[in-house]
Symmetry: C2
Subunit: 316 residues, 2 copies
Amino acid sequence: MYIGFSETETFLRNCEDAIIITHQSPDGDCIGAAFGLKDILAELGIRSRVVCSDVFPSRYDFMTNVGAGEEFEPKTVIAVDIADVKLMGRYTEIYGDKVQLCIDHHESNKDYAEKTLLREKATAACEIIYDLGKYMGINITKHCAMCLYTGIATDSGCFRYDCTTPRAHEIAAEMKRSYDINFARINRYMFEVKSLGRMKLEAKVSELMEEHLGGKLAVVAVTQDMMKELGIGPDELEGFAPLTIQLENTEVGILMREREPNVFKCSFRSADEVNVSTICQTIGGGGHAKAAGCTVEGELDEVKKMLIETVRKALS
Amino acid sequence: MYIGFSETETFLRNCEDAIIITHQSPDGDCIGAAFGLKDILAELGIRSRVVCSDVFPSRYDFMTNVGAGEEFEPKTVIAVDIADVKLMGRYTEIYGDKVQLCIDHHESNKDYAEKTLLREKATAACEIIYDLGKYMGINITKHCAMCLYTGIATDSGCFRYDCTTPRAHEIAAEMKRSYDINFARINRYMFEVKSLGRMKLEAKVSELMEEHLGGKLAVVAVTQDMMKELGIGPDELEGFAPLTIQLENTEVGILMREREPNVFKCSFRSADEVNVSTICQTIGGGGHAKAAGCTVEGELDEVKKMLIETVRKALS
């Protein structure tokens, strides 16, 4: 059942011993939302504990170092930024059918909770939680503000992407007027820094970048031999597809990874207007308009030629 | 003489045939400010022309493609985003002592104009011009808004840096509520895209990255031999110093370029708190807290060792 701020307030003010679940492969938004909500509950005198199927990456320490909360038998189960119970990892079995409140901003939300506060237009779950805290008249602490800013910043690519709402900017403005927070440091850790290993791997991938179709298509193909030489497996190239749309004239980017001999996993990215899901569907794949994929068998050169031809047709 | 919005309004409403000067090596802020002001003057029925000592880079076409303005004998000389007349390039001689109005946000502004509207706290000259336009009750057209957004976004690193004011976020929010602008596309062109050549050069530079002092110092040294091999000169490495502070634990980054045999131009960057200007001053250089430099003579290994030792002392 979908509910609004008023009913959510009633629920939160009357809950006890809450467990707050974040999704697996946690990101800035679900961690920020969980720890931000924990701070809000603390202001109400309600104890809570944040749980996640995976370990929180260390770059989020400034949010998580307050501790996830003491052990207790939960009487309230809350999920934040989780569109589908399957995304709870090992908590799916324990709490999947027991979620009383879900706070989320995904259009694809499966309405699995007893009550769901859904704002599909919100940049981030953190945007909803900030507005909810203000609606409830709760004191947003500095730590809470840091958490909620981080979620808004990470889900919007630091205010770069389409999904950035006017409200996201307004909240950032309000926070900058009200708190002595080193926002630039948060942004540096969220958007700029990488490990030396990651930097060198990006360099190797960049060196493999090819332009086709007059620059409209960028392709990086990484064969098993190349991975052996780099000392990596195909999973270590996860997250590299966006590199393919960094070239100035590129409309479509493809990262090809040879997962088994002559079996290529191809990740497509669209820089702006081209729908790569439609392209991938013509060759047995699918996905979203701006990020899609398919798996193709064949020799590297054949597969690449076929992909280039497919994109050429789609662009014309 | 420093003036406020009221006097600036009087000046603009009464000016005629204005030339608007941008600084050499033009960036998003001076181009956005000049073309944004041109749009505001047009709303007042005043013709103007934008001039720059250098050619506007093509990635700013969406601002400049309206044309710089017809030829006429200027009766009014306005400078935007220019702290010092020296930065006008070939226009310094022609207009350097004739600037009637300067609109700027640099603390270092030399007060060279008859009247200067200076807002040192503003993120960008474009932030001042937006607020001025609103103050004057002028209709900000879509093109004008695109220009002013671009200046605010580029000078703030898309709202990432310290210099991002609450007002910058508020203006972005107002624009997102009022205009049908593809902000994400502007941000992509300003912050994400690069040429294939630039991408491959960054890859080469990344491969030369070294960590020292337990990761607190990152050094890239590019010798003349390496440049020969890459087919580039030292100037083509302009703008690469920020790469050195992308490593996760780095506090100081140094890009060393061998400009002449055994003469190294060293560009220092601070990731956060270390003042690199102070460090560079101890070895004959200087600059700003977060970006400074010096020139050191000697063999590569000697110079590098000396720099590492200097940074070690400064950090301890």
